[in-house]
C-alpha cells in the first residue's frame, strides 16, 4: 500500500497502533459484534478530546459498528460520530496529481456538498475518504484523513471494514441484478457472516424505511431489484448502504441519472438522513447543492490540472457572498 499516512505516533496512545506489521485486525464475527454494543461507541464529546483519544481510537473503524447502529440505542451517540478531518490531502493517479493539498473539516449530522467544474477531483476526493481511490491501479494518497480522531489510513485500519463505516452511493443506480430487493439490502450484512433470518428481516425493514422505500416495496421484497424505477433503484442502493450501519454516507452525484421527481425524493431523503449521518455529496447541480447542503466546498482545477479547494463555508454564504472571486464566478455561472 503506497500510502504515506504521515501521522506521528501519539506518545500516550500505544494501543492506537495495535498492529505494527500493518496487518488488518482479524475479521471475525466476535469483534464485529462486540463493536456494536451501543454503549461501547464514543460517548458525546469524547470524539475530539485528545487526552481521551486512546480509548476511542480503534473502536469505530478498526472494529466497525454493525447493523446495531440502526437501533434506537445508538441514536444518542450518533450526535458526535462521523466527524471527518482532512489535512494536506493529495491524491495521485500514478504520477498525475489529481488533488492538491486539500484541508477540509466535515461536520457530522450535516450535509456537505462538493461543487466544482468537471475534472476538478470532486469524485476522487470522495473516494479517498472511504479508501476506494486506492483500488485504482497506481492510485495513491498523501496526507491524513481522520474519522472521529482515527487516521483512516493508519496501519491498523482495514479498508474493507472502513467502507462499512463510510457507505457510498454512486452516480448510476447499481442494484445487483441477480438479487431480489431483499437480498440487495442485506448483501453487505451477508459479507459479515450474518445470516439469522429474523435479524436480516429487521434490518431490511429498517433500512428500507430509512431510505423511504419500504411502503413501495414491502409487498414485493422477493422481486428483482431491477424491476424498480430508476429513482427507486437509487433509494434501494441507499438502503443497501445504510444496512451495514455506516456513520458517513458518501454520495457521488446520486441524482444525476434521475428525473426531476425522483431527484426531489432523493433530496428529501438526504434531508432526513442527515439527522443520523454525516453526508458528503458531490453534485454538478448548483441548485441541488443550495437546496440540500448545510455547507458547501468549492473545488476547481489548477494550472497543473490538479484539483484544489478554493473555499468552504456555510452554503448560504457560498451562494450569496463568497469570499473568493473564483467561487463567485462559478456559482453565478460565469465559468465551469
Amino acid at each position: 500500500m503506497a500510502i504515506d499516512a504521515a501521522q506521528p505516533e501519539t506518545p500516550g496512545a500505544p494501543e492506537g497502533r495495535q498492529n505494527p506489521q500493518g496487518r488488518p485486525p482479524p475479521e471475525t464475527e466476535e469483534t464485529a459484534v462486540a463493536g456494536h454494543a451501543p454503549g461501547v461507541r464514543h460517548a458525546p464529546g469524547v470524539g475530539h478530546s485528545p487526552e481521551l483519544r486512546p480509548g476511542v481510537q480503534r473502536l469505530p473503524i478498526a472494529v466497525g459498528p454493525g447493523p446495531g447502529d440502526l437501533t434506537d440505542g445508538a441514536a444518542a451517540s450518533e450526535a458526535t460520530a462521523g466527524l471527518l478531518e482532512v489535512r494536506h490531502l493529495n491524491a495521485y493517479y500514478g504520477t498525475f496529481r489529481a488533488i492538491r493539498d486539500v484541508d477540509l473539516s466535515i461536520r457530522p449530522n450535516a450535509v456537505t456538498a462538493l461543487i466544482g467544474p468537471s475534472g476538478c477531483g470532486k469524485t476522487t476526493f470522495l473516494r479517498t475518504l472511504n479508501r476506494m481511490h486506492e483500488l485504482v491501479p497506481g492510485a495513491t494518497v498523501q496526507g491524513t484523513i481522520e474519522l472521529d480522531g482515527v487516521d483512516v489510513y493508519g496501519s491498523n485500519i482495514d479498508p474493507v471494514r472502513l467502507r462499512r463505516v463510510m457507505g457510498m452511493v454512486f452516480q448510476r443506480p447499481s442494484p445487483f441484478p441477480t438479487m431480489s430487493i431483499y437480498d440487495n439490502v442485506v448483501a453487505g450484512l451477508r459479507l459479515t457472516g450474518r445470516h439469522q433470518r429474523s435479524e436480516l428481516d429487521a434490518v431490511v425493514e429498517r433500512s428500507l424505511r430509512r431510505a423511504a422505500l419500504w411502503d413501495e416495496v414491502k409487498d414485493k421484497l422477493r422481486e428483482n431489484g431491477m424491476s424498480l424505477s430508476g429513482g427507486q433503484q437509487q433509494r434501494l442502493c441507499i438502503a443497501r448502504a445504510l444496512a451495514v450501519g455506516p456513520e458517513v454516507l458518501l454520495m457521488d452525484e446520486p441524482a444525476s441519472a434521475l428525473d426531476p421527481i425522483a431527484t426531489l425524493r432523493i433530496e428529501e431523503l438526504i434531508a432526513e438522513l442527515k439527522q443520523s449521518y454525516t453526508i458528503v455529496i458531490v453534485t454538478h447541480n448548483m441548485q441541488q447543492a443550495a437546496r440540500v447542503s448545510d455547507r458547501t466546498a468549492f473545488l476547481t482545477m489548477g494550472e497543473d490540472r490538479a484539483g484544489y479547494l478554493v473555499e468552504v463555508d456555510e452554503t448560504s454564504r457560498i451562494f450569496t457572498n463568497p469570499r473568493e472571486r473564483l467561487t463567485e464566478d462559478y456559482v453565478s455561472g460565469r465559468f465551469g
Binding site: R163, F176, T192
Partner: protein
C-alpha cells in the same frame, strides 16, 4: 446479398440433415428407435446398435467438462480479475494458443506422453484410493475413456477460458464498486457480484466447450481405445460416435453398414442441436431473470 448468404446456411443445414436422414433410412427401417438402445455392432450378422457410441460420446464429454470447468473458471477469474495487465495479456494469448494446436498433434501427445503418464500416476492413485467404487475400479491401461476425457478437457479449456474471461471483463465496474463499497474483499466481490452477473455468459461458454467436446474426433479416436462397449468404468476402453465413424467409414460396405454409420452421424447431429437449444433456453431464462449478459453463448 446478405439474405442469400444467410439463406444458404439454412439450406445447407437443412440439406445435410435431410440427406443424413435419407441415407440412413435403411437402418431406421430395420431397427427403428431400437437402434439407439442396441448394444451390438456386428458387421458379420448385420446387427447394428448405437448405444456404446452414444454412451461413449456423452460420458467422455461430461467427464471432460468435470475436469475442464473448474480449471477454466479459476483461470478466467485469475486472468480477468486478479492478474496484473503485464501478466494477463500474454497468459490470455497463450491460453488461446492452446486452441490452435491441431487435434492430431494433441492426440499424438496423448498416446505417447499423456496416457502412459496418467496410467502410472493419476489412474494408479484413483484405482488405489477409490477403487472400491465400481466406476473407479481397475485395471487402468492409460488408453481409454479417462485419457480421452483429459485430452478433451485440454482441448476445451481455451474455449471456456476465453469466452468466460470476456464475459467477466464485460461486467460493469459499477457492480464491483458497489460490492466493494459495502465492505467486501476482492474475492467476495468476484464471488458475490461479478460471477452472478456473468453467470449466463459463463454457462454459454461451458456449452460452447461441450459442443466442441462432443464433436471432437481425431484426438479422441487416438486415445480412447476404440472398443465397441458401453463404458461402465472411467478407465474402460470405449468409442465415441465420431471416433466410430472415423475408424470404420473407410472399409464400410455399401448397404446397411454404411447406412448405420450415417445414422450414427444423424444421432450426433441431433445430440449437438438439442444441447445447443437447451443451452440457449438456459441462458435466456437466466438472462430474463435479470441475470446480466444475454450474449456470450
Amino acid at each position: 446479398m446478405t439474405l442469400v448468404a444467410a439463406g444458404l446456411i439454412v439450406v445447407l443445414l437443412a440439406g445435410i440433415t435431410i440427406r443424413l436422414a435419407i441415407e440412413s433410412a435403411g437402418t431406421w427401417a430395420r431397427f427403428g428407435l431400437g437402434f439407439l438402445g442396441g448394444t451390438t455392432w456386428d458387421v458379420v450378422n448385420g446387427v447394428y446398435g448405437a448405444l456404446p457410441f452414444v454412451a461413449g460420446t456423452v460420458e467422455s464429454s461430461l467427464l471432460a467438462l468435470i475436469i475442464a470447468v473448474p480449471l477454466s473458471l479459476l483461470t478466467a477469474i485469475f486472468l480477468a480479475e486478479l492478474a496484473p495487465r503485464w501478466l494477463s495479456v500474454p497468459l490470455t494469448f497463450l491460453v488461446e494458443l492452446l486452441a490452435a494446436i491441431p487435434s492430431v498433434v494433441v492426440g499424438l501427445w496423448g498416446v505417447f506422453v499423456l496416457s502412459p503418464f496418467l496410467r502410472d500416476t493419476v489412474e494408479k492413485w484413483l484405482v488405489g484410493a477409490l477403487g472400491f467404487i465400481p466406476i473407479f475400479s481397475g485395471p487402468a491401461f492409460g488408453i481409454g475413456l479417462f485419457s480421452a476425457s483429459v485430452v478433451l478437457a485440454i482441448m476445451i479449456v481455451p474455449t471456456i477460458v476465453s469466452v468466460s474471461r470476456e464475459v467477466i471483463v464485460a461486467v460493469p465496474g459499477a457492480q464491483r464498486e458497489a460490492m466493494l463499497a459495502l465492505g467486501a474483499t476482492r474475492w467476495e466481490t468476484t464471488r458475490r457480484a461479478v460471477l452472478p452477473y456473468a453467470r449466463s455468459g459463463i454457462v454459454g461458454a461451458v456449452i460452447l466447450g461441450l459442443g466442441r467436446a462432443l464433436g471432437e474426433t481425431m484426438a479422441v479416436t487416438m486415445v480412447i481405445g476404440n472398443k465397441d462397449i458401453v463404458p461402465t468404468r472411467v478407465f474402460d476402453q470405449a468409442q465415441t460416435i465420431a471416433s466410430k465413424i472415423a475408424t470404420t467409414f473407410n472399409e464400410a460396405q455399401v448397404g446397411i453398414q454404411t447406412q448405420s454409420l450415417i445414422a450414427l452421424g444423424l444421432v450426433l447431429l441431433a445430440i449437438t442441436l438439442a444441447l445447443n437449444v437447451i443451452a440457449r433456453l438456459l441462458v435466456r431464462q437466466v438472462a430474463g431473470d435479470g441475470g446480466g449478459l444475454a450474449s456470450g453463448g
